[in-house]
């Protein structure tokens, strides 16, 4: 009785389909690979203190074996006339913006990788070449990278740079939070050299307290927002400023972690591989039934 079989089949198929749908629609939160350490470190950048001496740029290049002129040349402030971005030649740069509160005292903003708590690069990388470490640093592994540049698409701050000029072994270049230095107990190179103490290195949760403290003590000096406290789920690097961050070229970002939606979709499609397997079974069933139908028509 082929009709009976078919009805049974559709019942089964509907059941499989429904259960697959219900599983895939479960709200699955974006998973961070490892649980975030409560002792993870961070840096608080107080842009109202920064004098734009660019010593951090030099120290960074020295620490990462990048080509650089001597420290003296960095006193040339004409570099600040143009807005720059971190790239494959400089992992951090300082940009200067006019200060509406005091025209004589421009605002200088150091830019580098923010070391997100839920990094888009870590989630997106096809081979898992990025790692979020216990101390907060997000680093890149040369031995895994295949150079697809998806991290650059994913990064909400548009930080990773790629060595386009190299035909062999091009690297993804970005601030690594001086991972090798901090392992030895040293400060990140930029923090160590900063003469104005615009950069404070410490436990992230302490830094957030310090930041809010400063805002509270000098509400006229600061714009009431700690950038990085909640943006895209929080970042290790935190910023204080005297004006709206959007005017300082920071991207306007929500509080949801950047990889959240993507990971929910991925987990939905691949919930224990049930949806693909259910689809396979469904198609197999349809094929079998149709073949059977055809055969019985052949016999007519």
């Amino acid at each position: 009785m082929p009709t009976q079989n078919r009805r049974d089949f559709f019942k089964t198929a509907a059941f499989i389909g429904a259960s697959a749908a219900s599983i895939s629609s479960l709200p699955i939160k974006a998973a961070t690979p490892e649980k975030l350490s409560e002792n993870r470190m961070g840096v608080l950048v107080d842009t109202t203190v920064c004098i734009g001496c660019r010593n951090c740029e030099w120290a960074c290049k020295e620490a990462h074996n990048l080509k650089t002129d001597s420290l003296n040349t960095y006193s040339d402030r004409s570099v600040l006339d143009k807005k720059r971005r971190p790239d494959e030649y400089a992992l951090t740069v300082v940009n200067e913006y006019s200060n509406p509160k005091n025209q004589l005292l421009p605002t200088d903003v150091k830019v580098q990788c923010m070391h997100c708590d839920e990094p888009a690069c870590v989630s997106a990388c096809i081979v898992g070449a990025f790692t979020k470490h216990e101390n907060g640093a997000v680093t890149w592994d040369s031995d895994k990278c295949i150079g697809c540049r998806y991290c650059m698409i994913a990064c909400p701050f548009q930080v990773p740079a790629f060595e386009y000029s190299k035909a062999l072994e091009p690297k993804i270049m970005k601030c690594d939070f001086c991972f090798d230095r901090t392992k030895e107990g040293k400060l990140p190179a930029c923090v160590e050299i900063c003469p104005a103490e615009a950069l404070t290195y410490g436990k992230r949760e302490d830094l957030i307290k310090i930041a809010h403290d400063r805002i509270k003590k000098q509400p006229d000096r600061y714009f009431n927002h700690v950038l990085g406290e909640h943006e895209v789920g929080g970042t290790s690097w935190l910023y204080l400023a005297g004006q709206d961050f959007a005017k300082l070229d920071f991207p306007v970002l929500g509080e949801a972690p950047a990889p959240g939606v993507t990971e929910s979709i991925q987990h939905g499609i691949f919930a224990y591989f049930i949806p693909p397997i259910a689809l396979y079974a469904l198609l197999g069933g349809v094929m079998w039934l149709n073949k059977k139908k055809n055969k019985s028509e052949d016999e007519l």
């Binding site: 997106a124 096809i126 081979v127 990278c145 697809c148 091009p170 689809l279 198609l283 197999g284």
Partner: protein, 411 residues
């Protein structure tokens, strides 16, 4: 009297003026390709830190995968829903898909900064990455396509291995063994092919979701994977129509209008679903407000919808269009162009680099390589249909069995 259709190698001259032009384009592309490998991506492309992906990803990979969708949609129709009459289009569609995916893989290879590490995803897994899923699915699906193509190879060579010496006999029996084994297990691969296709066609859309606010709201939506899947399903048959009309014209064959217009009839509902989902999504997210601004994004979005969906949708409702090879070709071309524009929009136009000083436009080198790859693909297609039994021609030795005259006609 109708003759039964049978896949046959096409006996025609390979070289024509058109073929010579294609060969020149291919050589030009390969020259620029050489500069990419000698001097690096920076020397050949207009890519930069603000625009990490260019047309090699948007066209060679994303559009390539979408336009090779004819492979799985026809397999679903011909093998799984089991409509016998469509079997004549299965082999050409399979060939397109196989060559398409091969060139997708080559496109990725060329675009990778460290192309020699392309095998890394096989052992270095990252389950949260949609790119990882796309990579693995494409790899497995390409293999499945090669397996699906194998019976055509065995059919070509069985009983025709004419090497001297003792080798010819074992090879022939190996081919026969392969043919029998594949015949019994092929359904496994056919279903796997359809499942793998739905997975990576949709995940290709998931790719750009993580770009978040960097992607223009007209395209940035959590249901991007669904839209990619629906558009891929919708473009599958038009692509088959497009290429078989083109191939018939180029090879001087009779156009299979009966099958093609039946196929075209199925396109309108698929396009309609795609359009409906796209518009509903737009209304729910309220992104139509961006259409009031006149800029590259809003203009490209309107072009994509009007040329790629609305015009062909209207055309395919007309009986005259379905019956005329020219108009059928035009409407199929619109659908193909629409998906082409959509993929370029999603990967390039919608992606606004936050700190870009200038916008991205592909370099001469990038365009040359992309055009060169398409030229090589067409040349290989031509060579394959001349060598292997792929395109079905009426066979004078086989006459129609009576059952078709009784059962013929869908309704």
């Amino acid at each position: 009297m109708d003759f039964l259709m049978r896949p046959t190698p096409i006996n025609k001259k390979f070289i024509t003026p058109g073929v010579i032009i294609l060969i020149l384009l291919a050589i030009n592309g390969l020259v620029f390709l050489a500069t990419r490998f000698i001097f690096g991506l920076g020397a050949t492309t207009n890519l930069c830190n603000q625009h990490p992906w260019g047309i090699w990803i948007a066209i060679d990979v994303a559009t390539g995968v979408a336009l090779a969708a004819g492979g799985f949609t026809s397999a679903a129709l011909g093998h799984i829903i089991h409509r016998e009459r469509y079997h004549v289009i299965l082999r050409p569609a399979l060939l397109t898909a196989m060559l398409g995916y091969t060139f997708v893989a080559i496109g990725v290879f060329v675009d990778l900064g460290r192309y020699y590490s392309i095998w890394h995803p096989l052992i270095m897994w990252n389950g949260t990455s949609p790119l990882f899923e796309v990579g693995i699915c494409v790899m497995i699906y390409a293999t499945v396509l090669y397996i699906e193509f194998l019976p055509i190879v065995t059919e070509k060579f069985i009983g025709k291995v004419k090497w001297k010496g003792i080798l010819s006999k074992p090879i022939d029996s190996f081919l026969r063994f392969l043919d029998r084994g594949l015949g019994k297990t092929m359904f496994i691969f056919i279903i796997a092919g359809v499942v793998l296709s739905t997975l990576h066609q949709s995940s290709l859309g998931t790719l750009m979701v993580i770009a978040g606010p960097k992607m223009h709201p007209l395209w940035q939506t959590p249901i991007l994977p669904l839209l990619f899947l629906f558009s891929a399903i919708a473009v599958g048959f038009p692509m088959i129509i497009f290429e078989s009309l083109l191939a018939s014209r180029s090879l001087g064959l009779k156009m299979e209008m009966d099958i093609l217009s039946r196929l075209a009839k199925r396109v309108a509902p698929l396009l309609g679903i795609y359009l409906a989902v796209k518009l509903i999504d737009m209304v729910i997210r309220g992104t139509y407000i961006y259409l009031t601004e006149i800029n590259v994004q809003s203009v490209m979005f309107v072009i994509e919808i009007v040329i790629g969906i609305i015009i062909p949708l209207r055309m395919l409702f007309s009986e005259q269009v379905l019956k005329s090879p020219l108009w059928l070709f035009v409407s199929a071309s619109f659908v193909v162009a629409g998906v082409f524009i959509n993929r370029i929009n999603c990967f390039l136009v919608a992606y606004s680099a936050p700190y870009a000083l200038d916008s991205y436009f592909p370099s001469v080198g990038e365009i040359s390589v992309t055009v060169g790859f398409i030229a090589i693909l067409v040349l290989i297609y031509r060579a394959f249909v001349m060598f292997f039994p792929i395109i079905s021609l009426p066979d004078r030795r086989l006459t129609q069995k009576t059952k078709y005259s009784i059962m013929g006609g869908e309704k």
